[in-house]
């Protein structure tokens, strides 16, 4: 496979080098400044590599900006999919295909499966989020106490935590992992959901 998106050029985007335009360390890979990156390649294997590059860029971008969800129509206008300096953007159809690929990998899931207008972005897997939350509970001596979901995602105590501001549906999923592990119990209903940790 000798494509321009071959692994030797792309790497796995493990190291994200600063882009030319900004002084602050940027999450954009050098590829972001490469115009063909924004156009889907007809060659299947090249497209696979291109797709992989896009998915790691999306995860890195969402992590850096603490974005829990991407709404396609809005996101396509942001710098993530639209390189204003180059005047290039990823087409809606191609973006959907990238996200579908990511959904298969468990990196995102569709908010509405039928319309595919947006996704939850899992730059940490639900299992990882579960562990992060549980570690926080454990280290702050809150085992055995009852917390509301709002308190975990938006409370004053969690502002310094990575999961602060987490989208509610995603938080439920992460807590669901802990319930399965037997270290948490979700109770209450509707708006008034709470969780007890063990």
């Amino acid at each position: 496979m000798s494509s321009i998106f071959g692994n030797n050029i792309l790497g796995n985007n493990a190291t994200l080098v600063g882009s030319s335009s900004s002084t602050a360390p940027s999450i954009f890979p050098p590829l972001y400044d490469f115009p063909p990156f924004f156009t889907r390649y007809p060659n299947a294997s090249t497209w696979t590599a291109q797709r992989a590059a896009w998915s790691s860029l999306i995860l890195a971008y969402c992590k850096a900006h603490k974005l829990w969800q991407l709404h396609l129509s809005d996101a396509l206008e942001t710098e993530l999919f639209h390189n204003a300096a180059l005047g290039r953007r990823l087409k809606h159809q191609d973006a959907v295909e990238v996200l579908e690929f990511m959904a298969k990998e468990g990196q995102v899931d569709w908010i509405d499966e039928s319309n595919k207008t947006g996704v939850n972005v899992w730059w940490k897997k639900p299992e990882e989020w579960g562990s992060v939350i549980f570690d926080w509970i454990d280290s702050t001596g809150q085992k055995g106490s009852v917390l509301t979901l709002y308190e975990i995602a938006h409370g004053d105590l969690t502002t310094a935590q990575e999961f602060h501001g987490m989208e509610e549906g995603m938080l439920k999923k992460a807590l669901g992992v802990l319930v399965k592990r037997g270290s948490a119990q979700i109770f209450g209903s509707g708006e008034e959901m709470g969780v007890k940790f063990f």
Partner: protein, 220 residues
């Protein structure tokens, strides 16, 4: 309540705490809303004042004032709610402590049950009995021995003591040149007899003392 099949690990207390916390969250959200309104009214008043519409600017400021009194009221309510929540949590901990104390008390009681006063008394009586018996045996043995035997035993003990203390058993002095062998003081033989008599007396006294001091059995 509880649409989910919640297990019995969730108690009524947990639900009560959750309810309080939900109320607290609602108040916090309400406060956020009011803060936004305060900001909006402030900028509205500013804009109106810039346009020269003083009365409406005043109105906006009045509305703002009203909202800020609401804000301070919710602050008080929040305080009450949080105080209640933490006292419930503290009471739950106290309950646990009480439970722990109860458990410890049970164990202590059980141990005491195995250690009654009667059994201790019986044990002490048995011990006294044993001591008396032992004494009887030694008395009998002492009675069997003659004074002479006793003397020999004590001589042996003294010799042993000397050995242990590192004193040579007999200091052999060089023979003194012959001197007139007139008996001035008590002869050596006489001295020995005197010592034996003294010892016999001491033993008798000791025996009498021991009988007096014999441990009295504890009154049942």
């Amino acid at each position: 309540m509880g649409a989910l099949p919640s297990s019995n690990r969730i108690s009524a207390h947990d639900r009560a705490v959750l309810n309080l916390k939900v109320q607290r969250d609602k108040l916090k959200i309400y406060q956020k809303k009011i803060s936004v309104i305060l900001e909006a009214e402030h900028s509205a008043a500013k804009a109106l004042l810039a346009k020269g519409d003083k009365p409406r600017a005043l109105l906006a400021l009045r509305r703002r004032k009203y909202q800020s009194t609401l804000l301070s009221q919710t602050d008080k309510q929040l305080e009450t709610l949080e105080a209640l929540t933490s006292s419930i949590e503290f009471a739950l901990i106290e309950k646990d402590v009480l439970y722990g104390l109860k458990q410890g008390n049970e164990v202590l009681k059980q141990i005491h049950k195995e250690m009654t006063v009667e059994s201790v008394e019986r044990l002490m009586e048995d011990t006294a009995e044993g001591i008396r018996y032992q004494k009887e045996i030694s008395d009998m043995l002492a009675g069997v021995m003659t004074n002479a035997d006793e003397d020999e035993v004590e001589e042996e003990l003294a010799a042993m003591e000397r050995e242990v203390n590192g004193v040579p058993p007999e200091v052999v002095l060089p023979a003194i040149p012959s001197a007139p062998q007139t008996a001035l003081g008590p002869s050596e033989e006489g001295e020995k007899a005197l010592r034996a008599k003294e010892r016999a007396r001491a033993r008798k006294a000791a025996l009498e003392r021991a009988v007096e001091e014999e441990p009295q059995p504890i009154a049942a």
